[in-house]
């Protein structure tokens, strides 16, 4: 499929020319295919948030180019608003941007700015509310009466209602309880599946990225450290740990097992796959095969069935 996002040698400097100048992005290049679900991870200050604010032209690159859907983002600065509807951006703690009297009106704010007619706005608001699992009865309530998790849903729906081709979310699950996290992320995944929207998800949690994304972009020190499929990135777990990032706990276990000399795959990052691999290993051992790694074998492989 075609590249919907193409970033070429993007650099960004805060306060250029002043003594307080700070480079936030340094020669970043990558492409995203339409329909991908890309997880963006990196330590604090690695440039993730700066990168995503470039996707809809809230920040102008100091140098380099961004192409969205084949069109240069900054070819005509007057038209930048069109790209704001093409790339929907959900910021961290988006509930703080709610302002309307009712949730309905707040979700309708984006579509209204697009100049759509009332019937279409109505359709989109209900559709978006449905995607985030918001009870239609809540639409007529004030957003300030809702709980934190519901407010967040209203804010996410407000961006989804614009039907962007690309949806960028900056830590949509931050500050929610574990159940809330799973709910909101599965809703995003569901939305991605149903609409085929390209999704960029910034997260600190490797478990979340492993569970929902199909590609991972690892930022480190203002540059892209890795950009590949989830399997390949997590197979390089030692490097991730070196960058100060964690890997899913299950990956850690499997890496430790390999270190101990057990013949198990290294690219395990989800629980279902891990269970499958362990069952597989048990079957092999029962069949009398050796589970000891061919090289530097140190220990008997019985531990794999634990």
């Amino acid at each position: 499929m075609a590249d919907i996002i193409k970033v070429e040698h993007l650099s960004y400097v805060y306060n250029p020319g002043l003594p307080t100048a700070v480079t936030a992005l340094d020669d970043v290049s990558f492409t995203v295919e339409e329909g991908d679900f890309v997880g963006i991870i990196g330590a604090t200050g690695s440039g993730k948030s700066t990168l995503i604010t470039h996707m809809n032209g809230l920040n102008k690159p100091t140098s380099g180019k961004i192409f969205i859907d084949g069109r240069d983002l900054w070819a005509d600065p007057e038209k930048i608003r069109d790209f704001r509807f093409l790339t929907g951006l959900v910021f961290q703690y988006p509930e703080y941007q709610l302002f309307e009297e009712t949730c309905y009106k707040d979700i309708a704010f984006g579509p209204k700015n697009m100049g759509l007619d009332d019937a279409e706005i109505d359709r989109r608001v209900h559709e978006a509310a449905d995607f985030v699992g918001l009870d239609p009865a809540l639409l007529e309530r004030s957003p300030f009466e809702l709980s934190g998790g519901q407010k967040r849903r209203v804010a996410v729906a407000g961006v989804m209602a614009m039907k962007p081709r690309i949806l960028v979310l900056d830590e949509p699950a931050a500050g929610l309880d574990p159940e809330g996290r799973d709910d909101i992320l599965s809703e995003v995944k569901e939305y991605h599946k149903k609409t085929g929207t390209t999704v960029l998800l910034v997260s600190h949690s490797m478990e979340d990225i492993a569970k929902y994304a199909n590609r991972v972009l690892v930022m480190s020190n203002k540059k892209i450290a890795m950009y590949d499929t989830v399997e390949k990135v997590f197979a390089r777990a030692p490097e991730l740990l070196e960058l100060g990032l964690s890997v899913p706990q299950v990956t850690k276990i499997f890496l430790k097992l390999r270190e101990m000399g057990v013949d198990v795959p290294a690219d395990v990052y989800t629980i279902p796959y891990a269970v499958k691999m362990i069952v597989e290993a048990k079957r092999r051992r029962d069949a009398g095969e050796s589970l000891v790694l061919p090289r530097e074998a140190k220990q008997e492989g019985g531990a794999a069935t634990c």
Binding site: Y96, Q97, G110, M162
Partner: protein, 271 residues
């Protein structure tokens, strides 16, 4: 855009100006403002500006910062200068006479002097905030106003309000920036469009901003209560302001400079 605001900005340093007792610094700044108006002849103004330039050099504040602090008040400076230019009438022949507007040589003189004076005023007061951290400054204000406490004037409360307000300026600017970005991402037109549209477009920014400001105020009040804050009665400070010998020497030097500037007016009234 919002990042350019320099009010209350502080440049940490360890120069003579930075270490000078904030109470004396504050009083001297006020005296300096009075001086700018008292010694209003060109010679007096030149000397005052030289004095200020010397202070900026001692404080090692980059000259660029003066320009930055002057930028927002430029319209006021121009406005005052233009008013003076047209409305001050002098003796002798007018320089220019167009329709009902007449410009006298005296008017030009006043316009230039007024513009320079206002700029020196801003630069002078900026030096105070550049070299004194807001917390220290409010401490100084509290101590200077202490005598008013005898008249049941809530000095401590006022100082606390000021330090909280100053503390939250950068936070609120950052917050505004974030909210503006979030609404722009939903297609709000904040920097384009007609004046009425722009004012309307501010609603989605102001409402969340007010809500978050009230929320912050609530949280801060709670946090202060948790730490047993009960107003100024019986409160002692970690850092007590004390004037040292060096402060008095600095003060004497400044007063001497001011005296020279003021006397320049009396000795050379025609310059």
């Amino acid at each position: 855009m919002l990042r350019d605001i320099t009010i209350g900005q502080h440049f940490p340093g360890n120069s003579l100006v930075h270490r000078f007792d904030p109470r004396l610094k504050l009083v001297l700044t006020i005296v300096y403002i009075v001086l700018l108006f008292a010694a209003s002849n060109p010679l007096g103004l030149t000397l005052s500006i030289l004095f200020l330039a010397a202070m900026y050099t001692v404080a090692k504040i980059p000259l660029k910062m003066i320009g930055k602090s002057l930028k927002p008040i430029l319209p006021i400076v121009i406005f005052t200068a233009v008013l003076n230019l047209f409305f001050v009438s002098g003796e002798g022949e007018p320089l220019v006479h167009i329709w009902f507007l007449t410009i006298y040589a005296e008017g030009v003189r006043y316009a230039v002097l007024m513009a320079v004076r206002v700029m020196a005023l801003i630069a002078g007061t900026s030096l105070l905030t550049y070299t004194t951290s807001p917390i220290v400054l409010t401490d100084a204000i509290e101590q200077l106003l202490k005598p008013l406490g005898k008249l049941h004037f809530p000095v401590h409360e006022l100082a606390m309000m000021m330090s909280i307000a100053l503390r939250f300026i950068p936070t609120l600017i950052e917050e505004t920036d974030k909210i503006m970005n979030a609404q722009k991402a939903r297609g709000a037109q904040l920097d384009t469009g007609k004046m009425t549209e722009r004012v309307k477009a501010l609603v989605p920014v102001l409402i969340p901003l007010f809500i978050s400001a009230f929320r912050r105020a609530d949280e801060l009040a709670m946090a202060m209560e948790c730490r047993c804050y009960r107003g100024g009665d019986g409160r002692t400070r970690l850092k007590v302001l004390r004037c040292t010998k060096r402060d008095y020497i600095d003060l004497a030097v400044c007063i001497a400079c001011f005296a020279v500037i003021l006397s320049s007016r009396l000795v050379f009234p025609n310059f």
